[in-house]
Symmetry: C2
Subunit: 233 residues, 2 copies
DNA sequence: GAGTGGTCTAGACCACGGT
DNA sequence: CCGTGGTCTAGACCACTCC
């Protein structure tokens, strides 16, 4: 019990959050410096530093050298989503995962894709349509383009047994990615594959990945009606 | 230039990521312990620790005491979203933000809400419908319920000038929140407010927030057609 | 210029959890 | 048990940025 009062960086985070909530440090306040806090809390500055640094990463605080640390006016808390790796997502919900290749076409990159992915019309691309099922119920319709200049070995892969996403994460590393979430209406074709009605609202993810400035792949993922993505903060 | 070779924790992160990409440490590999790495990199263990800890947080590595650190099989990279605070979101895109209250009703909590938010039928709630505009174009339709037991002062607020979200973040702190993203079809009413067509696909966010186990508010936010949420990893 | 956070170090003790 | 990561310390130097 001797040093039961010693503060861990987690204790400090809790204390700081409490002080913000009970208006000891209202939004906009400049907090004491790290050395002062370390003394108040009776711990080393490094410990305070870690607590404050994490709170800043979580969007609660703003820190600037010389200016000091202040409580954010709008506590811009941020959500973290685990990017769904579809097989795992399905299996984690207790479903049996099944994958099917719908079509596979190699072609020169069409104009809109060149513009979007910074390709030239000479670049060859692979265009794939795939279906993902959970317990034989349609789960996701995938419309994917792979840049064969960035992933040449894709040309020799038939994608009949393995989904392009799974293949890509295993074979082609990436350095950057961009995700866009939106809602779109099911076209006739997509609706048929998803066993949905034409015009249904589909949760849609567009994903683009790069390997050092070079675009590797672009995909549109349409989920069956009712799909939702949840996160806690 | 003397110690230009000294490694920072960020350098170490880059080096580790490189070693993973060039298959020096393929997925599943158990990496050397922190002390070994510290020696290899010529720095203190704390420095290695921070690098590895952050890579674990980012979903690249799995760390377990005694078991050691290993490269994740499926690099579960995660996306971070800034939770849209609507006024800022609109103003950041250069639009002029306008808010309007559509309706405001105080009532006992209906059954479905009691179930969802763990309320009793005796609990009074405030039900609000609001519109948010960007340059007088409809941006978001908000359907919000506020638990008056958790936020009693909401009963004395008319919400004619300030949106409930903005009011809540300023007046009622929260400890936990849950967000759900989905796609839904516009009902006739919502479509009229959003100047959209009935049945249009709307990007929808449901948000619930708690203050220490007690539910504060639940909101359904329907965005105008075409809305999208983007993030980079 | 000076104050603040950012980072590094060398050493220490602790707690979890595989063997 | 005992090795590994998790955390803390006391002190130091650095880099940014406000004044």
């Amino acid at each position: 019990m001797s040093d039961a009062n010693r503060m861990s960086y987690q204790d400090i985070k809790v204390k700081v959050l409490q002080s913000i909530r009970d208006n000891t440090w209202p939004p906009g306040t400049i907090m004491p410096g790290e050395v002062d806090l370390a003394e108040q809390f009776g711990c080393a500055r490094a410990t305070v530093n870690r607590a404050m640094r994490e709170l800043a990463e979580e969007g609660i605080l703003d820190r600037k050298r010389k200016a000091g640390t202040r409580v954010k006016k709008s506590p811009t808390r941020q959500a973290k989503f685990v990017i769904p790796v579809i097989r795992e997502e399905v299996e984690n919900t207790g479903g049996a995962y099944r994958y099917a290749l719908v079509s596979r076409t190699q072609m020169p990159a069409p104009g809109w894709l060149c513009a979007k992915l910074q390709l030239t019309p000479e670049d060859q691309v692979l265009h794939l349509h795939c279906m993902h099922y959970s317990d034989s119920k349609p789960y996701q319709y995938e419309d994917r383009w792979i840049n064969l200049s960035a992933a040449p070995s894709a040309a020799d892969t038939d994608f009949k047994e393995i989904g392009p996403n799974e293949w890509l994460v295993r074979e082609i590393p990436f350095t950057d990615a961009e995700l866009t979430f939106s809602a779109s209406r099911a076209t006739r074709t997509v609706a048929e594959y998803l066993e949905a009605a034409e015009g249904d609202a589909l949760f849609t993810i567009e994903r683009t990945t790069w390997l050092n400035q070079q675009t590797v792949t672009f995909a549109r993922l349409h989920f069956s009606p009712g799909y939702q993505l949840t996160t806690k903060l």
